[in-house]
Amino acid sequence: MTLAAFLRERSLLVLALLLALLVGIITVVRPGTVTPDWIANTLLFAVPLGLMAGGETLLLLAGGIDLSVASVASGAAYLLSSNAAPLGTTLAVLLGLAAGLLVGLLNGVGVAIFRVQPLVMTLGTGLMAQGALVVYSQKIIGQEQLVPRAVATLGSGKFAGLVPYALFLWLPLALLLILGLRRSGFGRLLYAVGDNEAACRLSGVRVWRVLLAAYAACGLLAAVAGIVLVGTTNAADLSLANVYLLPAIAAAIIGGTSIFGGRGGYGGTIVGALFLTVLDSLLTLLNAPEPVKQMLYGGVILALAAAYTRLTD
């Protein structure tokens, strides 16, 4: 087998090796950094990214994309923290989730029924959500902002001081996504729609339903990510999750999900999300100035995405 063929068949393994390499670099550059505590924190920081990238994975597989995930996550977080005091924790969380679901459904209706190009549609709803959030924040000025204890625990607490509670949310969801993509009719249809919509139609599949459900699920996952994130930062602001937009899509793509649809899976996305989180932490450890950090981060993502696309085509 040639090297290229090997890399193609085992791209996930290669990414996992790169991840190990990054961790190796960290132990060399800053000995003593990699401790159980560091691992726990890295996993915790990877959770919001992993959840948002999960939604993107569903959509990329189906030939779509969602540029509104960051706004949705920020919005869910903000709605939660500004309504926790009057409504109570449960209702506030539900409100945040409902907002995510609503934007997701809106995206789905636009893309699946009115056939708006996904990039355009989700860019539009993202901007609208951001705008609505600003208007809302001005309306409720002076109202108490509160991150409920349960949410803070979810976003920053650790079971037995070691295992982040967020993992107890992420792991079952990840399992559900991985199994669902492989073993459910809906999962099968996501791949099918992403590979050839016309063939799906000929086979009696109502494509719009699949797309609508996928966009709704992506919105919901983004809202969950926002809630975990606000638990970590313990304060919501209007642009809380904005930095996650590119990484969410990049994690799916460097994890082997094709941007043209029909190929990939959530397992790769998880490794991709961990890789990006560790890369971020390495750049921070190196005390790189923020602009340099951003340039390196973007460069690595582009290089990986380009390498992957070359290998698989």
């Binding site: 459910s184 009719g185 791949y191 099918a192 050839n196 063939a199 086979s203 009696g204 599949v205 029909g262």
Partner: protein, 477 residues
């Protein structure tokens, strides 16, 4: 996977040379090497005695080898003129050739997207001829052409031969090979198994070489007359009208019957099949399935009524990156209630049964795009075997498929009919109609102009009817 092991091909100057082989024999791989798309692992290519190494399709072109590929090589959103400019082809020469093909009125400012497939094929041909190649490679160009247009291809090939140049001609139609080609090289399993002169009764030898078995073994398999049909028709069409082309079509199709449909290009057959499959809504008329009137808004409605479509274009029906299994099982998850957990074991059994019945070669089962054309077509049919149906609508299912697979498909249609299915079969290969059908209807100008038992429907009779000529007596002088 090894597609090609030891292929020898010698083409003389002033010769039309056929390259033949069953689907998966390695024809496409050989063509890709000849045209510089793939690089051989071993062996050599020489033109006029000079060894050549093509690093790209452009290099092959410059060496005098120009090809017309299986699918149109034109950018759909550009006009004809713009497409010609892309490849630096002189438009005047192309126009001259197109004039000879009967397309002198073609407007070069038309977007390629708006032209029918046969026109695109002839533009491809004209463009290749305009490059004045020493060797012209025609890869299944006639597969998508109706008989009248195919004649122009033969004429061009003959002219090329008379100029002392060479034509490599790939086709699955034995009749045209016998009429046109001087010699034929036959490939099987990536190896050249023989060079035959098809004109001198070589047809059966070609079939035998391609199949690797004596011709008797491949002869009309299990084609028995269907039981006398009774009960309400599985499908009844009454005064159906759709768009400009389908004007007024009525017929009844009984369970256990294969009804053939013969027509030249664009006589309304596309519209008819689209309406029956739920892809388009008719403007007037009625469709009855098992006696019940139907109004299809989506193919899902047609499938529920038992009508399923095998389209001509396999690419349209398949998920190229997904496995044979997922392709076959696709209709099984079409309903909302199938969205939950998959019944993997039951599904696997159904798929395996369909794969077995159609004898699908599953060596490259992980991605359907790596299967040969014939196997891909079998996957499309297998999908409906796994899902179940009452009436199978086959639109030119053997287009671009080798003779062995063709016979398998016709035998399967007979078998399905014998087990109680109804089959509507449109085919552009009139000579194949008696092989598969009980009755045949001829469509012309959006109306059915003739109907007869398939047994007595020879090619000449059908062709006359398909041109709108009523009876033998009216045949043109």
């Amino acid at each position: 996977m090894v597609a090609l092991r030891a292929a020898d091909l010698q083409v003389r100057a002033g010769e039309v040379h056929a390259l033949m082989g069953a689907n998966g024999a390695g024809k496409s791989t050989l063509v890709k090497m000849l045209t510089g798309v793939l690089r051989p692992d071993g062996g050599s290519i020489s033109i006029r005695g000079t060894p050549r190494r093509f690093r790209s399709p452009l290099a092959a072109r410059q060496a005098g080898l120009v090809s017309v590929y299986q699918d149109p090589a034109l950018v759909p959103d550009l006009t004809i003129a713009q497409n010609l400019r892309l490849a630096r082809t002189p438009p005047d020469v192309v126009r001259q050739w197109l004039g000879r093909f009967g397309f002198s009125a073609l407007d070069f400012a038309t977007a390629v997207r708006e032209l029918p497939l046969p026109t695109l094929r002839l533009i491809d041909l004209a463009r290749a001829l305009a490059a004045e190649p020493d060797i012209l490679l025609l890869d299944e160009i006639t597969a998508a052409l109706p008989p009248d247009l195919a004649e122009h291809v033969y004429a061009a090939a003959r002219q090329w031969r008379s100029l002392g140049r060479s034509v490599i001609f790939i086709s699955h139609r034995l009749a045209e090979i016998a009429a046109l080609c001087d010699r034929a090289t036959v490939l099987r399993d990536g190896v050249t198994v023989g060079v035959v002169e098809p004109a001198q009764g070589g047809e059966e030898r070609i079939v035998a070489l391609m199949l690797g078995a004596p011709p008797e073994a491949a002869a009309r398999a299990g084609i028995a007359a269907a039981a006398a049909p009774s009960g309400p028709p599985a499908l009844e069409v009454q005064a159906l009208r759709c768009g400009e082309k389908l004007r007024d079509v009525s017929f009844a199709l009984r369970a256990g019957e294969v009804l053939g449909l013969a027509a030249l290009e664009g006589q309304g057959q596309e519209e008819l099949f689209d309406c029956l499959a739920g892809l388009r809504r008719p403007d007037a008329g009625a469709i009855l399935a098992a006696g019940a009137p139907q109004h299809f808004h989506h193919p899902a409605d047609a499938i529920r009524a038992g009508l399923v479509l095998v389209p001509a274009d396999r690419v349209r029906a398949l998920l190229p990156q997904r496995s044979v299994h997922e392709n076959i099982a696709l209709p099984l998850v079409r309903r909302l209630r199938d969205w939950g957990g998959l019944p993997m074991r039951a599904e696997r059994a159904r798929v395996a049964e369909a794969v077995r019945r159609l004898q699908i070669d599953t060596r490259a089962a992980a991605e359907v795009k790596r299967l040969s054309g014939g196997n891909q077509q079998k996957v499309v049919i297998a999908r409906w075997l796994a899902c179940g149906f009452r009436t199978l609508l086959c639109f030119d299912p053997t287009r671009g498929i080798d003779i062995g697979t063709k016979r398998q498909i016709y035998a399967l249609l007979r078998e399905l009919a014998a087990s109680g299915a109804a089959v509507l079969l449109f085919t552009s290969e009139l000579s194949e109609i008696p092989l598969a059908c009980d009755r045949v209807a001829v469509l012309f100008g959006g109306r059915i102009v003739a109907g007869m038992p398939a047994a007595g429907a020879d090619e000449a009779t059908l062709l006359r009817a398909a041109h709108g000529l009523r009876a033998r007596a009216e045949a043109p002088a």
